[in-house]
């Protein structure tokens, strides 16, 4: 098939904590195919968050090479990174991170505003909310929605710009197991229907088991890759 959506070669990340240097990533090389569902697991301090931040273009690696959807990410400045995040990456966070003052529709519309889309923003945002089953809740504010519904709004927001990859950081971590499973079903369904690459960072083996492949990190390196 076509080229992998994510290619990294020997990614390293070094944080300076005062005098000490912390090596969060020590040479991570991986490839993720378009449309794949990948889980990233590992104990805390294994570099899982750093890897997610790097793959999500929230942060630049200290060394190595990263190609996202055909674009080399290293050496981009802050605004160029913002642009890549806007067009190619959708984020789903553990704590939803919705704007409390804005309606569901405005929340979903936000990435479209930053991408400079001028026409049909409301329509696109409404379609995205319908695709996560919240077509009848577009004018509700986050406080008026349940946890599961809030996470659905966050998913709609992540998808509205039709990104190349969807990064989900513990998407079910703040939900009970039943609602969590509904969210997982929704994510997997969206992946199946639209072919969006799905990367899930998780502690939960039950969540990881639903991915096509699990990457286990330990001490900043890939320990093992487990195909489902």
């Amino acid at each position: 098939m076509d080229a992998p959506v994510i290619i990294t070669r020997n990614l390293t990340k070094v944080y300076k904590m005062g005098e000490m240097e912390v090596h969060a990533l020590r040479g991570v090389s991986l490839e993720i195919k378009r449309g794949e569902v990948v889980a990233i697991m590992g104990p805390s301090g294994s570099g899982k968050s750093t890897l997610m931040n790097t793959l999500g273009c929230l942060d630049q690696p200290s060394g190595g090479e990263y190609i996202l959807d055909g674009e080399t990410v290293a050496d981009l400045n802050d605004d160029q990174l913002a642009d890549i995040r806007n067009r190619k990456v959708g984020f789903v966070f553990q704590s939803f991170n919705l704007l409390a003052r804005s309606t569901a529709l405005s929340n979903v519309e936000l990435p479209l505003r930053y991408s400079g889309t001028t026409s049909g923003r409301k329509e696109k945002a409404r379609l995205a909310l319908e695709s996560v089953g919240l077509g009848d809740r577009i004018d509700h504010r986050p406080a008026e929605l349940s946890g599961g519904q809030q996470q659905r709004v966050a998913i709609a927001r992540a998808l509205v710009n039709e990104p190349a990859i969807l990064m989900a950081d513990e998407p079910t971590g703040n939900l009970d197991s039943k609602v969590g499973q509904e969210i997982m079903d929704l994510l997997l369904n969206l992946n199946k229907e639209s072919g969006t690459t799905l990367i899930i960072i998780t502690h939960d083996p039950k969540v990881a088991a639903q991915a096509q492949r699990t990457i286990r990190l330990h001490d900043g390196q890939i320990r093992e890759e487990v195909p489902a």
């Binding site: 806007n86 991170n97 400079g116």
Partner: protein
């Protein structure tokens, strides 16, 4: 991101914290209200003063005895002869009219009523020079002067005090310093002015005052000479002509005149410079208030940036560039101060109007003037304050690192 969207979002955000936004605005509101009120009152005061100055007459100059500073000792008094010399159209072509006066305070009575008034001995020329007219009767004529007639013109306040009314007074006899004077007319109402009430005044013939009421030594002395210039452009020339004629007559050295020529324009300039100083002074206080208000805005914006660190991180994760965040926070801070400024303009206007009503009710006609330029100035200035004091907090927000901002609790 278009600017309207940014404004709406900023309003939502400010609305979400009404109490805080209101208190933050207060500094700007007070500062701008002070500026607007002071400018309005200053402009109103200036109008009132200029109005009363122009009410004295047109193209007027005043000649007093005595030098402009205290270095001139024993000045020679101004005399009738000086006034007559100024009337010489050959050596003083730009002088239209000359009106010497004697002026003093005097006791007048009618029946049981008595009153202290300003008594002025005048010549017929005084009336055109001062723009004085009568509501009934006649003015003082050359015959009155020649005959040292015991006739008097009453100001309306004097008429009110002695008779309780203002009409039908011609032919009545009042006593001035105990001597009987026949009323020949009542002066038009003048209103308050720079030189006290001009309505509590009586006018009698110059020669009568000189001989019987206000005796001076030497006998031909005059107190003030009013000089009217032919037109507004000739005032400076007139001033020079007066100086030349009088210094020749008084035999004074150059630059050591023992008399002072003061034009209406000089009075206007003095009045303007006084109101100007006042306006600057109050403006300075208002500027300090605006500065404090601006610092308040900066403080609150810094708190707001810290509180919303996660939101900023999220916006960046969704693709907001630095300038998007910058615009968002600058819009908030400048809206905060703009709205404060608009409220301040309304409040200042109201304060000016209230002061105007109070002073009008207490006898001084006074109209505060809020000029368009004052409103524009206040609007622009308050917005600029918001922008200026918003730059630091907004910059701080824009430079947050997304990874750290998202992790912030």
């Amino acid at each position: 991101m278009n600017i309207w969207r940014a404004v709406i979002e900023a309003l939502e955000s400010l609305n979400g914290n009404k109490m805080r936004s209101g208190l933050t605005m207060l500094g700007i509101v007070i500062g701008v209200a002070a500026v607007i009120a002071m400018l309005a009152l200053g402009a109103g005061a200036q109008d009132t003063i200029l109005g009363s100055l122009s009410g004295i007459g047109t193209n007027l100059l005043f000649v007093f005895s005595g030098g402009e500073d205290e270095s001139i000792r024993n000045p020679e008094p101004l005399t009738i002869g000086d006034a007559e010399a100024l009337q010489d159209s050959f050596s003083a072509p730009s002088i239209e009219a000359v009106a010497p006066i004697l002026q003093g305070s005097s006791e007048v009575s009618y029946g049981g009523e008595a009153s202290t008034v300003t008594l002025t001995g005048v010549t017929p020329a005084y009336f055109p020079v001062r723009n004085y007219a009568v509501t009934e009767g006649e003015t003082i004529s050359e015959e009155h002067i020649l005959g040292r007639a015991s006739v008097v013109l009453l100001g309306v306040e004097v008429a009110d005090n002695l008779f309780g009314h203002r009409d039908g007074l011609v032919g009545e006899t009042i006593r001035v310093e105990g001597q009987p004077f026949r009323v020949i007319g009542v002066l038009e109402e003048q209103g308050g002015g720079m030189m006290g009430s001009q309505d509590n005044e009586i006018l009698i013939p110059f020669s009568t005052a000189q001989a019987r009421i206000l005796r001076r030594s030497p006998a031909d002395r005059v107190d003030v000479i009013f000089v009217q210039s032919v037109d507004a452009d000739s005032v400076t020339t007139t001033e020079e002509e007066i100086s030349q004629i009088l210094s020749q007559r008084h035999r004074t050295a150059v630059g050591e005149n023992d008399f002072t020529v003061f034009s209406q324009q000089d009075m206007v300039d003095t009045a303007s410079s006084i109101t100007g100083i006042l306006t600057t002074f109050i403006g300075g206080i208002a500027a300090i208030s605006l500065l404090v208000g601006g610092i308040g805005i900066m403080n609150i914006m810094l708190v707001s940036v810290t509180e919303r660190t996660r939101e900023i991180g999220l916006r960046k994760a969704l693709g907001a560039r630095k300038q998007d965040i910058l615009i968002q926070f600058l819009t908030e801070s400048s809206l905060l101060s703009l709205v404060g400024g608009l409220i301040g303009i309304a409040l200042g206007w109201a304060i000016g109007a209230v002061v105007g009503v109070i002073s009008t009710n207490s006898g001084t006609a006074f109209e505060p003037v809020v000029s368009l330029s004052a409103i524009l100035l206040a609007t622009i200035f308050s917005t600029v304050i918001g922008l200026f004091f918003g730059i630091y907090p907004a910059n701080r927000a824009a430079n947050l690192v997304p990874v750290e901002a998202l992790r912030y609790e």
